[in-house]
């Protein structure tokens, strides 16, 4: 035994060289150190997505990512705002809103999960029709199927109160799976508290 080991505190050295020396020369008996990491409960990871767009090619990945996150044990919340709110209007609601201008908006952009347009190459519906045909051919789940899976797996959808007011949407216009409406401060709190956040 060297003086170094005699003087060593009751803790195993952590640098590799000291560790190697200790392996050869032996270390003094130490108190077992409590492993804190094993005791502490593993925190569930959180993903927050802001669904801003009502376009097919943006809502689709939001639903793919949110349902996969929930399937992977990640707590996922989707804050639904601006155009992103229209896909979450109930099927039977064709024109929503109170004023003529609000009604015009939903006349120009039909609400509901089955009536999404492409952000590019829409060509009066030709693009989405081709996307739909291709997705069926390659057995890609539709936005509707993914929305059902996402809500079944516990993804929380939070509608934006301000957008609802602006579009003249009432809580009962939105699908039942939507959570309680909230505002920007709630969105910020969700995003800053999450492990990852996306704005799509």
């Amino acid at each position: 035994m060297t003086t170094a080991t005699l003087e060593a505190p009751a803790r195993r050295p952590i640098d590799p060289l000291a560790e190697a020396i200790a392996d050869i020369e032996g270390t003094p008996e130490t108190e077992p150190v409590a492993v804190e990491a094993a005791e502490a409960p593993v925190k569930t990871k959180e993903l927050v997505i802001v669904n801003w767009s009502g376009d097919l090619d943006k809502v689709w990945p939001v639903l793919i990512l949110s349902s996969t996150a929930a399937a992977s044990g990640v707590h996922c919340k989707v804050f639904v705002t601006f155009w992103g709110l229209l896909p979450f209007v109930k099927d039977e609601r064709r024109i929503v809103g109170e004023t003529w201008m609000q009604k015009m908006l939903t006349l120009m952009q039909r609400p509901g999960i089955d009536h999404l347009k492409l952000s590019k190459m829409n060509f009066l519906g030709m693009g989405p029709w081709m996307m739909g045909t291709l997705s069926r051919k390659y057995h890609v789940a539709s936005p509707r199927e993914l929305l059902e899976a996402a809500t079944a797996l516990g993804v929380e959808f939070v509608p934006c109160q301000m957008t609802m007011d602006m579009f003249g949407l009432k809580r009962e216009d939105l699908i039942d799976e939507m959570g309680e409406p909230a505002g920007a401060a709630t969105a910020i709190e969700l995003m800053t508290g999450a492990d990852a956040s996306l704005f799509i």
Binding site: I64, T68, A71, A141, L146
Partner: protein
């Protein structure tokens, strides 16, 4: 040695992310330690099932590929 499979999930023909989404739904009601057999044809499922296993802690007990069909045996955490 043959494994005692509790349930078989046929996700053949389904594209990303449905094999994972359906796996998560199928494994949930099983008791801890039970085995779920997953069949998939999505080539991406090889990487995705591994990633899902790491994220959720449900272990891959067996894995094989045969004629474009990927087979996984997963143990419920």
């Amino acid at each position: 040695m043959s494994l005692q499979i509790s349930q078989v999930l046929d996700a053949r023909g389904l594209s990303c992310p449905m094999p994972i989404v359906k796996t998560a739904q199928a494994i949930k009601p099983l008791p801890s330690g039970a085995l779920l057999e997953l069949l998939a044809t999505d080539p991406g499922s090889v990487k995705d099932v591994a990633a899902w296993s790491r994220s959720t802690g449900n272990a891959i007990v067996e894995q094989s590929a045969d004629g474009g069909v990927y087979r996984f045996v997963l143990r419920r955490k």
